[in-house]
Symmetry: C2
Subunit: 161 residues, 2 copies
């Protein structure tokens, strides 16, 4: 349902994520270009949500500048393919931790201490939201569910400290 034991546990998944991204693109007849790969990698290997400009800087090197606009384009592509999510409350991006249908209700759990972002989804939540919307006579197209707080690891760390 969700990942991250601590927020380092996920770093090992970078290779998996890249492999999945490549597979998805091949499946759909789309190009997984070097730039897209680099952007995906940058998002995947960061332990927390990355801003587009952060990524641009990270990918830039003396003699090889990657402009933010290029990063945005790659991110748009990756988001369309469901490989990356945008965190609206942070203007930042994270890798999609698990395959889920596009548009499915996923909540982002954003730790205000470590900055890590976890994905969670649940039937109960989905049900509650659906009924609330139905009662309001509202037809949903796209949802943004983000909760800021403290993740388990950081809370323990604080209590210990």
């Amino acid at each position: 349902m969700h990942r991250h034991e601590g927020h380092d546990a996920c770093h090992g998944d970078v290779a998996d994520m890249l492999a999945r991204a490549e597979a998805v693109c091949r499946e759909r007849g789309l190009q997984f270009t070097p730039l897209r790969r680099e952007v995906m990698e940058a998002v995947a290997e960061a332990g927390k949500a990355q801003g587009a400009y952060d990524i641009a800087e990270k990918l830039s090197a003396p003699g090889k500048r990657v402009a933010p606009v290029s990063v945005y384009r790659a991110l748009d592509f990756l988001m369309q393919q469901g490989l990356v999510h945008r965190i609206a409350s942070r203007n930042a991006f994270i890798p999609c931790a698990h395959g889920h249908a596009p548009g499915e209700g996923v909540v982002f759990l954003i730790c205000r201490t470590c900055g890590g972002v976890d994905e969670a989804s649940s039937e109960m939540l989905e049900d509650g939201l659906d009924r609330t919307l139905k009662r309001a006579g509202f037809t949903p197209a796209h949802s943004i569910l983000e909760v800021e707080g403290d993740c388990g690891a950081c809370r323990e760390r604080q209590q210990a400290g």
Copy 2:
């Protein structure tokens, strides 16, 4: 639970909102200054979410310019008092339609056709979210729940047209 029959029905509430804002400030020993009042009014009387720059422009007149930064300060104040909400997905602001505890789970229903924003809250949703968070071992501090779609009025209008 929620308001807005159509999105004009709420315009009559402007006076109420201003009165409530004034009452809240007096209660808490805070100043409801002319600027804050004007910003509150601008947010309240618009049928849809207003950007800070929109408000600044609206309040400006030949000879009396209101800078965005002033609007932001007023908005920050009004948000702290729970009189105004920020819609993260739009970078825009709406008046709080009803008194609810700060931090309580409220979902914003954003109509992509008319731009109107409705507030809804429900126990079911709250429960679902709480359990999802608990299961993930996450302690919430602040939630952003925004759904974009079509409100009842606009959907009917589309089917009719």
